[in-house]
Protein backbone atom coordinates (compact mmCIF):
# COMPACT_ATOMS: atom_id res chain seq x y z
CA UNK A 1 0.00 0.00 0.00
CA UNK A 2 1.05 3.57 -0.65
CA UNK A 3 1.47 6.47 1.73
CA UNK A 4 -1.62 8.12 0.39
CA UNK A 5 -4.62 8.90 2.55
CA UNK A 6 -8.00 9.04 0.83
CA UNK A 7 -10.30 11.65 2.33
CA UNK A 8 -14.00 11.02 1.60
CA UNK A 9 -15.77 14.15 2.79
CA UNK A 10 -18.45 16.26 1.13
CA UNK A 11 -17.69 19.50 2.96
CA UNK A 12 -15.13 21.18 0.74
CA UNK A 13 -13.56 23.30 3.49
CA UNK A 14 -13.10 20.36 5.84
CA UNK A 15 -11.76 18.22 3.01
CA UNK A 16 -9.28 20.88 1.97
CA UNK A 17 -8.11 21.42 5.55
CA UNK A 18 -7.64 17.67 6.06
CA UNK A 19 -5.70 17.30 2.80
CA UNK A 20 -3.37 20.13 3.78
CA UNK A 21 -2.76 18.81 7.27
CA UNK A 22 -2.06 15.31 5.95
CA UNK A 23 0.38 16.66 3.38
CA UNK A 24 2.06 18.87 5.95
CA UNK A 25 2.75 15.70 7.90
CA UNK A 26 4.65 14.11 5.04
CA UNK A 27 1.95 11.94 3.47
CA UNK A 28 0.18 12.34 0.19
CA UNK A 29 -3.54 12.83 0.16
CA UNK A 30 -6.44 12.59 -2.24
CA UNK A 31 -9.92 13.91 -1.67
CA UNK A 32 -13.35 13.00 -3.02
CA UNK A 33 -16.82 14.26 -2.12
CA UNK A 34 -18.88 11.07 -1.69
CA UNK A 35 -18.79 7.27 -1.53
CA UNK A 36 -19.38 6.72 -5.23
CA UNK A 37 -16.49 9.03 -6.14
CA UNK A 38 -14.34 7.14 -3.62
CA UNK A 39 -15.15 3.80 -5.27
CA UNK A 40 -14.35 5.30 -8.68
CA UNK A 41 -11.04 6.65 -7.34
CA UNK A 42 -10.14 3.27 -5.84
CA UNK A 43 -11.11 1.42 -9.03
CA UNK A 44 -8.56 3.31 -11.07
CA UNK A 45 -5.88 3.71 -8.38
CA UNK A 46 -2.71 1.83 -9.20
CA UNK A 47 -1.65 1.93 -5.59
CA UNK A 48 -4.24 1.64 -2.89
CA UNK A 49 -4.28 4.20 -0.07
CA UNK A 50 -2.91 3.30 3.35
CA UNK A 51 -6.00 4.74 5.03
CA UNK A 52 -9.45 6.06 4.22
CA UNK A 53 -10.91 8.93 6.26
CA UNK A 54 -14.64 8.45 5.77
CA UNK A 55 -17.41 10.91 6.49
CA UNK A 56 -20.78 9.21 7.05
CA UNK A 57 -23.40 11.68 5.91
CA UNK A 58 -22.75 12.52 2.29
CA UNK A 59 -24.86 13.02 -0.82
CA UNK A 60 -24.92 10.50 -3.71
CA UNK A 61 -23.47 7.63 -1.65
CA UNK A 62 -23.14 7.84 2.12
CA UNK A 63 -20.30 6.43 4.20
CA UNK A 64 -22.09 3.26 5.31
CA UNK A 65 -22.99 2.29 1.74
CA UNK A 66 -19.44 2.96 0.60
CA UNK A 67 -18.12 0.80 3.42
CA UNK A 68 -20.43 -2.10 2.43
CA UNK A 69 -19.22 -1.89 -1.18
CA UNK A 70 -15.59 -1.67 0.00
CA UNK A 71 -15.94 -4.78 2.17
CA UNK A 72 -17.51 -6.75 -0.68
CA UNK A 73 -14.50 -6.04 -2.92
CA UNK A 74 -11.56 -8.29 -1.93
CA UNK A 75 -9.11 -5.83 -3.44
CA UNK A 76 -10.34 -2.98 -1.23
CA UNK A 77 -11.61 -4.72 1.89
CA UNK A 78 -8.36 -4.59 3.84
CA UNK A 79 -7.84 -0.81 3.58
CA UNK A 80 -8.37 0.51 7.10
CA UNK A 81 -11.14 3.05 7.50
CA UNK A 82 -11.37 5.82 10.07
CA UNK A 83 -14.86 7.21 10.44
CA UNK A 84 -15.11 10.97 10.59
CA UNK A 85 -18.45 12.27 11.78
CA UNK A 86 -20.15 15.27 13.29
CA UNK A 87 -22.54 12.94 15.13
CA UNK A 88 -21.32 12.54 18.65
CA UNK A 89 -22.91 9.16 19.33
CA UNK A 90 -21.27 7.61 16.33
CA UNK A 91 -19.00 5.07 18.08
CA UNK A 92 -21.47 2.20 18.03
CA UNK A 93 -22.31 2.80 14.38
CA UNK A 94 -18.63 3.06 13.46
CA UNK A 95 -17.87 -0.22 15.26
CA UNK A 96 -20.66 -1.84 13.27
CA UNK A 97 -18.98 -0.64 10.08
CA UNK A 98 -15.69 -2.20 11.16
CA UNK A 99 -13.85 1.13 11.35
CA UNK A 100 -10.42 1.03 13.01
CA UNK A 101 -11.06 4.33 14.71
CA UNK A 102 -13.48 7.25 14.98
CA UNK A 103 -12.67 10.94 14.73
CA UNK A 104 -15.45 13.21 15.86
CA UNK A 105 -15.79 16.54 14.17
CA UNK A 106 -14.12 18.78 14.86
CA UNK A 107 -11.12 16.48 15.27
CA UNK A 108 -8.00 17.98 16.77
CA UNK A 109 -4.92 17.97 14.57
CA UNK A 110 -3.23 15.97 17.32
CA UNK A 111 -5.87 13.20 17.12
CA UNK A 112 -5.70 13.18 13.35
CA UNK A 113 -1.91 12.93 13.32
CA UNK A 114 -1.92 10.07 15.82
CA UNK A 115 -4.37 8.15 13.61
CA UNK A 116 -2.20 8.80 10.54
CA UNK A 117 0.90 7.62 12.41
CA UNK A 118 -0.84 4.44 13.51
CA UNK A 119 -1.89 3.40 10.01
CA UNK A 120 0.43 4.96 7.43
Amino acid sequence: MSHTVLVVEDDLDIRQALLEIIEEHGLSAAGVGDGAAALAFLARAEELPCLILLDLMMPVMDGATFREAQCRDPRLASIPVVVLSAYRDVDHHARGLGAVSVLKKPPSVRELVSVLRAHC
Binding site: A17, A86, K105, V109
Partner: protein, 389 residues
Protein backbone atom coordinates in the same frame (compact mmCIF):
# COMPACT_ATOMS: atom_id res chain seq x y z
CA UNK B 1 -69.23 -28.30 57.44
CA UNK B 2 -72.95 -28.61 57.54
CA UNK B 3 -74.38 -31.76 56.08
CA UNK B 4 -77.64 -30.11 55.22
CA UNK B 5 -78.44 -29.93 51.50
CA UNK B 6 -77.80 -26.64 49.75
CA UNK B 7 -80.59 -24.15 50.09
CA UNK B 8 -82.30 -23.41 46.83
CA UNK B 9 -84.76 -20.63 46.36
CA UNK B 10 -87.84 -22.12 44.85
CA UNK B 11 -90.45 -19.87 43.41
CA UNK B 12 -93.62 -21.74 43.02
CA UNK B 13 -96.91 -20.73 41.50
CA UNK B 14 -99.46 -22.91 43.28
CA UNK B 15 -102.32 -22.39 40.90
CA UNK B 16 -99.93 -21.55 38.06
CA UNK B 17 -102.15 -19.20 36.23
CA UNK B 18 -100.33 -17.64 33.25
CA UNK B 19 -101.27 -14.11 34.27
CA UNK B 20 -99.75 -14.50 37.74
CA UNK B 21 -96.51 -15.98 36.34
CA UNK B 22 -96.30 -13.19 33.85
CA UNK B 23 -96.83 -10.58 36.58
CA UNK B 24 -94.09 -12.12 38.68
CA UNK B 25 -91.67 -12.10 35.74
CA UNK B 26 -92.49 -8.49 35.06
CA UNK B 27 -91.81 -7.54 38.67
CA UNK B 28 -88.52 -9.34 38.65
CA UNK B 29 -87.53 -7.74 35.37
CA UNK B 30 -88.45 -4.34 36.77
CA UNK B 31 -86.32 -5.08 39.84
CA UNK B 32 -83.45 -6.15 37.59
CA UNK B 33 -83.63 -2.98 35.47
CA UNK B 34 -83.94 -0.73 38.46
CA UNK B 35 -80.88 -2.28 40.12
CA UNK B 36 -78.57 -2.06 37.08
CA UNK B 37 -75.89 0.46 37.98
CA UNK B 38 -73.67 0.59 34.92
CA UNK B 39 -76.40 1.62 32.52
CA UNK B 40 -78.98 4.36 32.82
CA UNK B 41 -82.16 2.60 31.70
CA UNK B 42 -85.41 4.57 31.72
CA UNK B 43 -88.61 5.11 29.82
CA UNK B 44 -89.97 8.20 28.17
CA UNK B 45 -93.50 9.10 27.20
CA UNK B 46 -94.13 9.84 23.49
CA UNK B 47 -93.20 13.52 24.04
CA UNK B 48 -89.87 12.69 25.70
CA UNK B 49 -90.80 13.13 29.36
CA UNK B 50 -89.15 10.74 31.80
CA UNK B 51 -91.46 8.05 33.25
CA UNK B 52 -89.11 5.62 35.01
CA UNK B 53 -85.60 5.89 36.51
CA UNK B 54 -83.09 3.24 37.62
CA UNK B 55 -80.02 3.15 39.87
CA UNK B 56 -77.70 3.45 36.87
CA UNK B 57 -79.51 6.58 35.69
CA UNK B 58 -79.16 8.16 39.10
CA UNK B 59 -75.49 7.26 39.21
CA UNK B 60 -74.78 8.49 35.69
CA UNK B 61 -76.80 11.68 35.66
CA UNK B 62 -76.96 12.59 39.34
CA UNK B 63 -80.76 13.05 39.64
CA UNK B 64 -82.96 11.01 41.97
CA UNK B 65 -86.19 9.52 40.62
CA UNK B 66 -88.22 12.11 42.54
CA UNK B 67 -86.30 14.96 40.96
CA UNK B 68 -86.40 13.78 37.39
CA UNK B 69 -89.63 11.88 36.68
CA UNK B 70 -91.88 14.10 34.60
CA UNK B 71 -88.97 16.23 33.30
CA UNK B 72 -88.08 16.34 29.62
CA UNK B 73 -84.90 14.63 28.37
CA UNK B 74 -83.72 17.97 26.95
CA UNK B 75 -82.36 18.53 30.45
CA UNK B 76 -79.49 16.14 29.73
CA UNK B 77 -78.32 17.87 26.57
CA UNK B 78 -75.66 20.55 26.16
CA UNK B 79 -76.72 24.06 25.08
CA UNK B 80 -75.02 23.45 21.71
CA UNK B 81 -77.05 20.26 21.11
CA UNK B 82 -80.23 21.97 22.30
CA UNK B 83 -79.63 24.81 19.88
CA UNK B 84 -79.55 22.37 16.98
CA UNK B 85 -82.62 20.52 18.27
CA UNK B 86 -80.84 17.22 18.87
CA UNK B 87 -83.11 15.65 21.56
CA UNK B 88 -86.28 15.94 19.49
CA UNK B 89 -84.43 14.95 16.32
CA UNK B 90 -83.24 11.74 18.02
CA UNK B 91 -86.76 10.92 19.23
CA UNK B 92 -88.13 11.54 15.74
CA UNK B 93 -85.52 9.25 14.20
CA UNK B 94 -86.22 6.54 16.81
CA UNK B 95 -89.93 6.82 15.97
CA UNK B 96 -89.20 6.60 12.25
CA UNK B 97 -86.51 3.88 12.27
CA UNK B 98 -87.51 1.97 15.41
CA UNK B 99 -84.27 2.86 17.21
CA UNK B 100 -81.46 5.36 17.15
CA UNK B 101 -77.91 5.28 18.51
CA UNK B 102 -75.81 8.31 19.26
CA UNK B 103 -72.66 9.27 21.11
CA UNK B 104 -71.88 12.67 22.52
CA UNK B 105 -71.48 14.92 25.53
CA UNK B 106 -74.39 15.03 27.98
CA UNK B 107 -74.83 17.12 31.10
CA UNK B 108 -75.13 15.82 34.68
CA UNK B 109 -77.20 17.45 37.37
CA UNK B 110 -74.09 19.22 38.75
CA UNK B 111 -73.41 20.70 35.29
CA UNK B 112 -70.40 18.47 34.53
CA UNK B 113 -70.33 16.70 31.21
CA UNK B 114 -69.93 13.03 30.44
CA UNK B 115 -69.48 11.19 27.17
CA UNK B 116 -72.61 9.13 26.60
CA UNK B 117 -73.37 6.19 24.35
CA UNK B 118 -77.16 6.37 23.93
CA UNK B 119 -79.68 3.96 22.40
CA UNK B 120 -83.30 5.11 22.12
CA UNK B 121 -85.85 2.49 21.12
CA UNK B 122 -89.42 3.37 20.14
CA UNK B 123 -92.10 1.36 21.99
CA UNK B 124 -95.21 0.76 19.87
CA UNK B 125 -98.35 -1.25 20.56
CA UNK B 126 -99.81 -3.91 18.29
CA UNK B 127 -101.62 -1.23 16.31
CA UNK B 128 -98.36 0.66 15.65
CA UNK B 129 -99.27 3.47 18.04
CA UNK B 130 -96.29 5.09 19.83
CA UNK B 131 -96.41 4.28 23.54
CA UNK B 132 -93.12 5.97 24.41
CA UNK B 133 -89.39 5.25 24.27
CA UNK B 134 -86.87 3.11 26.12
CA UNK B 135 -83.57 4.88 26.60
CA UNK B 136 -80.31 3.17 27.56
CA UNK B 137 -77.33 5.37 28.27
CA UNK B 138 -73.78 4.26 29.07
CA UNK B 139 -71.17 6.62 30.51
CA UNK B 140 -68.06 6.21 28.32
CA UNK B 141 -66.22 9.22 29.71
CA UNK B 142 -63.36 7.17 31.17
CA UNK B 143 -62.91 5.25 27.95
CA UNK B 144 -62.98 8.42 25.86
CA UNK B 145 -60.61 10.17 28.25
CA UNK B 146 -58.25 7.19 28.18
CA UNK B 147 -58.34 7.27 24.39
CA UNK B 148 -57.76 11.03 24.35
CA UNK B 149 -54.90 10.59 26.83
CA UNK B 150 -53.40 7.93 24.57
CA UNK B 151 -53.66 10.28 21.61
CA UNK B 152 -52.17 13.13 23.62
CA UNK B 153 -49.29 10.92 24.74
CA UNK B 154 -48.68 9.72 21.21
CA UNK B 155 -48.62 13.33 19.98
CA UNK B 156 -46.28 14.34 22.80
CA UNK B 157 -43.94 11.43 22.10
CA UNK B 158 -43.91 12.28 18.42
CA UNK B 159 -43.17 15.92 19.21
CA UNK B 160 -40.29 14.90 21.47
CA UNK B 161 -38.94 12.55 18.82
CA UNK B 162 -39.10 15.29 16.19
CA UNK B 163 -37.43 17.78 18.54
CA UNK B 164 -34.69 15.30 19.32
CA UNK B 165 -34.16 14.54 15.67
CA UNK B 166 -34.06 18.24 14.86
CA UNK B 167 -31.56 18.97 17.62
CA UNK B 168 -29.37 16.08 16.55
CA UNK B 169 -29.36 17.34 12.96
CA UNK B 170 -28.87 20.93 14.10
CA UNK B 171 -25.90 19.88 16.23
CA UNK B 172 -24.46 18.00 13.26
CA UNK B 173 -24.93 20.97 10.97
CA UNK B 174 -23.40 23.39 13.46
CA UNK B 175 -20.44 21.15 14.10
CA UNK B 176 -19.62 20.71 10.41
CA UNK B 177 -18.58 24.32 9.65
CA UNK B 178 -16.98 24.51 13.09
CA UNK B 179 -14.83 21.56 12.08
CA UNK B 180 -13.58 23.41 9.06
CA UNK B 181 -12.79 26.48 11.18
CA UNK B 182 -11.03 24.48 13.88
CA UNK B 183 -8.98 22.44 11.44
CA UNK B 184 -7.85 25.53 9.56
CA UNK B 185 -6.90 27.36 12.75
CA UNK B 186 -5.07 24.39 14.24
CA UNK B 187 -3.32 23.86 10.96
CA UNK B 188 -2.12 27.48 11.04
CA UNK B 189 -0.74 26.96 14.54
CA UNK B 190 1.10 23.84 13.43
CA UNK B 191 2.81 25.38 10.42
CA UNK B 192 6.53 24.60 10.57
CA UNK B 193 7.52 28.16 9.68
CA UNK B 194 5.50 29.33 12.67
CA UNK B 195 3.52 32.47 13.26
CA UNK B 196 4.65 35.71 14.79
CA UNK B 197 3.65 35.86 18.47
CA UNK B 198 0.78 38.33 17.95
CA UNK B 199 -0.77 36.30 15.14
CA UNK B 200 -0.32 33.09 17.14
CA UNK B 201 -2.14 34.61 20.13
CA UNK B 202 -5.03 35.68 17.89
CA UNK B 203 -5.31 32.23 16.28
CA UNK B 204 -5.15 30.56 19.70
CA UNK B 205 -7.98 32.77 20.93
CA UNK B 206 -10.05 31.92 17.87
CA UNK B 207 -9.36 28.22 18.47
CA UNK B 208 -10.55 28.47 22.06
CA UNK B 209 -13.73 30.22 20.99
CA UNK B 210 -14.34 27.45 18.47
CA UNK B 211 -13.89 24.84 21.19
CA UNK B 212 -16.37 26.67 23.39
CA UNK B 213 -18.90 26.70 20.58
CA UNK B 214 -18.53 22.96 20.08
CA UNK B 215 -19.01 22.41 23.83
CA UNK B 216 -22.12 24.58 23.87
CA UNK B 217 -23.64 22.69 20.93
CA UNK B 218 -22.92 19.37 22.65
CA UNK B 219 -24.34 20.55 25.96
CA UNK B 220 -27.60 21.67 24.38
CA UNK B 221 -27.94 18.33 22.63
CA UNK B 222 -27.17 16.51 25.88
CA UNK B 223 -29.82 18.39 27.80
CA UNK B 224 -32.40 17.52 25.20
CA UNK B 225 -31.45 13.85 25.45
CA UNK B 226 -31.28 13.85 29.22
CA UNK B 227 -34.74 15.32 29.56
CA UNK B 228 -36.30 13.08 26.95
CA UNK B 229 -34.66 9.89 28.16
CA UNK B 230 -32.90 9.24 24.87
CA UNK B 231 -29.51 9.52 26.51
CA UNK B 232 -27.65 6.23 26.59
CA UNK B 233 -24.42 4.92 28.07
CA UNK B 234 -21.76 2.87 26.30
CA UNK B 235 -19.77 1.36 29.19
CA UNK B 236 -16.25 0.02 28.61
CA UNK B 237 -13.59 -1.07 31.09
CA UNK B 238 -11.01 1.64 31.80
CA UNK B 239 -8.86 3.17 34.51
CA UNK B 240 -10.59 6.20 36.02
CA UNK B 241 -7.28 7.62 37.24
CA UNK B 242 -5.90 7.68 33.70
CA UNK B 243 -9.12 9.22 32.32
CA UNK B 244 -9.08 11.98 34.96
CA UNK B 245 -5.38 12.67 34.31
CA UNK B 246 -6.08 12.96 30.60
CA UNK B 247 -8.88 15.48 31.15
CA UNK B 248 -6.64 17.51 33.46
CA UNK B 249 -3.92 17.41 30.81
CA UNK B 250 -6.37 18.83 28.27
CA UNK B 251 -7.11 21.63 30.75
CA UNK B 252 -3.45 22.58 31.20
CA UNK B 253 -3.63 25.77 29.17
CA UNK B 254 -7.06 26.67 30.51
CA UNK B 255 -5.75 26.29 34.10
CA UNK B 256 -2.72 28.37 33.29
CA UNK B 257 -4.91 31.17 31.99
CA UNK B 258 -7.12 30.93 35.09
CA UNK B 259 -4.04 31.11 37.33
CA UNK B 260 -4.93 27.80 38.97
CA UNK B 261 -2.80 24.75 39.61
CA UNK B 262 -4.76 21.54 39.05
CA UNK B 263 -3.43 18.46 40.84
CA UNK B 264 -4.53 14.83 40.68
CA UNK B 265 -3.89 12.42 43.55
CA UNK B 266 -4.76 8.76 43.33
CA UNK B 267 -3.99 5.64 45.30
CA UNK B 268 -3.35 3.85 42.01
CA UNK B 269 -5.33 2.44 39.09
CA UNK B 270 -9.11 2.51 39.52
CA UNK B 271 -10.58 0.10 37.04
CA UNK B 272 -14.29 0.00 36.34
CA UNK B 273 -16.93 -0.24 33.62
CA UNK B 274 -18.25 3.20 32.78
CA UNK B 275 -19.00 5.32 29.72
CA UNK B 276 -15.62 6.93 29.31
CA UNK B 277 -16.71 9.94 27.25
CA UNK B 278 -19.52 10.72 29.69
CA UNK B 279 -17.29 10.37 32.76
CA UNK B 280 -14.73 12.64 31.10
CA UNK B 281 -17.58 15.06 30.53
CA UNK B 282 -18.40 15.07 34.26
CA UNK B 283 -14.77 15.82 35.12
CA UNK B 284 -14.67 18.46 32.38
CA UNK B 285 -17.80 20.17 33.72
CA UNK B 286 -16.50 20.22 37.30
CA UNK B 287 -13.09 21.51 36.25
CA UNK B 288 -14.71 24.17 34.04
CA UNK B 289 -16.76 25.28 37.04
CA UNK B 290 -13.78 25.45 39.37
CA UNK B 291 -11.62 27.35 36.90
CA UNK B 292 -14.50 29.76 36.27
CA UNK B 293 -15.73 30.44 39.81
CA UNK B 294 -12.49 29.76 41.71
CA UNK B 295 -9.93 31.13 39.27
CA UNK B 296 -6.56 31.72 40.88
CA UNK B 297 -7.00 29.05 43.54
CA UNK B 298 -5.66 25.50 43.48
CA UNK B 299 -8.00 22.75 42.24
CA UNK B 300 -7.46 19.28 43.69
CA UNK B 301 -8.82 16.04 42.30
CA UNK B 302 -8.51 13.07 44.64
CA UNK B 303 -9.38 9.53 43.58
CA UNK B 304 -10.10 6.70 45.99
CA UNK B 305 -11.43 3.23 45.49
CA UNK B 306 -13.13 0.46 47.37
CA UNK B 307 -14.09 -2.95 46.11
CA UNK B 308 -17.55 -1.74 45.13
CA UNK B 309 -17.06 1.86 44.07
CA UNK B 310 -14.72 4.60 42.96
CA UNK B 311 -14.80 8.05 44.55
CA UNK B 312 -13.62 11.29 43.02
CA UNK B 313 -13.35 14.48 45.06
CA UNK B 314 -13.02 17.78 43.24
CA UNK B 315 -12.13 20.72 45.49
CA UNK B 316 -11.23 24.30 44.83
CA UNK B 317 -10.27 27.24 47.02
CA UNK B 318 -12.91 29.63 45.69
CA UNK B 319 -15.83 31.24 47.46
CA UNK B 320 -17.70 27.93 47.60
CA UNK B 321 -21.45 27.39 47.35
CA UNK B 322 -23.77 28.25 50.26
CA UNK B 323 -25.25 25.11 51.78
CA UNK B 324 -28.75 26.38 51.02
CA UNK B 325 -27.91 26.14 47.29
CA UNK B 326 -26.39 22.66 47.35
CA UNK B 327 -29.42 21.01 45.78
CA UNK B 328 -30.44 23.87 43.52
CA UNK B 329 -27.13 24.07 41.63
CA UNK B 330 -27.75 20.60 40.20
CA UNK B 331 -31.01 21.70 38.59
CA UNK B 332 -31.31 22.83 35.00
CA UNK B 333 -30.39 26.45 34.22
CA UNK B 334 -29.44 27.05 37.85
CA UNK B 335 -26.27 28.56 39.22
CA UNK B 336 -25.10 29.65 42.63
CA UNK B 337 -24.11 33.11 41.43
CA UNK B 338 -26.20 35.73 39.64
CA UNK B 339 -26.02 35.55 35.84
CA UNK B 340 -24.65 39.10 35.59
CA UNK B 341 -21.37 37.91 37.12
CA UNK B 342 -20.72 34.80 35.07
CA UNK B 343 -22.08 33.64 31.73
CA UNK B 344 -22.85 30.06 30.74
CA UNK B 345 -26.00 28.04 30.33
CA UNK B 346 -26.24 26.83 33.91
CA UNK B 347 -26.27 23.23 32.71
CA UNK B 348 -22.84 21.83 33.67
CA UNK B 349 -23.77 20.43 37.08
CA UNK B 350 -27.18 19.29 35.87
CA UNK B 351 -25.57 17.29 33.07
CA UNK B 352 -22.91 15.96 35.49
CA UNK B 353 -25.55 14.73 37.92
CA UNK B 354 -27.61 13.08 35.18
CA UNK B 355 -24.54 11.24 33.90
CA UNK B 356 -23.41 10.12 37.37
CA UNK B 357 -26.91 8.95 38.27
CA UNK B 358 -27.27 7.09 34.97
CA UNK B 359 -24.16 5.18 36.11
CA UNK B 360 -25.96 4.31 39.34
CA UNK B 361 -23.76 6.71 41.30
CA UNK B 362 -24.21 10.00 43.07
CA UNK B 363 -22.70 13.46 43.07
CA UNK B 364 -23.06 15.92 45.90
CA UNK B 365 -21.50 18.89 47.56
CA UNK B 366 -19.82 18.55 50.91
CA UNK B 367 -18.14 20.75 53.51
CA UNK B 368 -14.38 20.62 53.98
CA UNK B 369 -12.80 23.49 55.83
CA UNK B 370 -14.01 27.08 55.63
CA UNK B 371 -13.93 27.84 51.93
CA UNK B 372 -14.13 26.31 48.48
CA UNK B 373 -16.53 24.08 46.63
CA UNK B 374 -16.07 20.37 47.29
CA UNK B 375 -17.81 17.87 45.04
CA UNK B 376 -17.89 14.15 45.83
CA UNK B 377 -18.70 11.69 43.06
CA UNK B 378 -19.31 8.06 43.91
CA UNK B 379 -19.51 5.57 41.07
CA UNK B 380 -20.27 1.88 41.39
CA UNK B 381 -17.46 -0.07 39.72
CA UNK B 382 -19.81 -1.09 36.94
CA UNK B 383 -22.31 1.19 35.24
CA UNK B 384 -24.18 -1.96 34.19
CA UNK B 385 -25.43 -2.26 37.75
CA UNK B 386 -26.74 1.31 37.61
CA UNK B 387 -29.92 2.74 36.23
CA UNK B 388 -28.50 3.54 32.81
CA UNK B 389 -31.15 3.87 30.18
Amino acid sequence: MSSSPPQTEVISFPDAPDAARSRSMEERFRALVSSVKDYAIFMLDPSGRIETWNAGAERTKGYTAEEIIGQHISLFYTPEDLARGLPLALLAEARREGRVESEGWRVRKDGTRFWADVVITALVDDGGRLMGFAKVTRDLTERVQAHQEQLRLAHAEEAVRLRDEFLSIAAHELRTPLSAVQLQLQSLLERPEGLDPRARAKVERACRSGERLVTLVDTLLDVSRLTTGTFSLAPTRFDLTVAVQEVVERFREHALRAGSVVSVRSEGPLEGRWDRLRIEQVVTNLLTNSLKYAAGTPVDLVLKGSEREATLLVSDGGPGIPESDWERVFLRFERATPMRNFGGLGLGLYVARQIVEAHGGQIQLTRRGETGAHFVIQLPRSADAGSAR
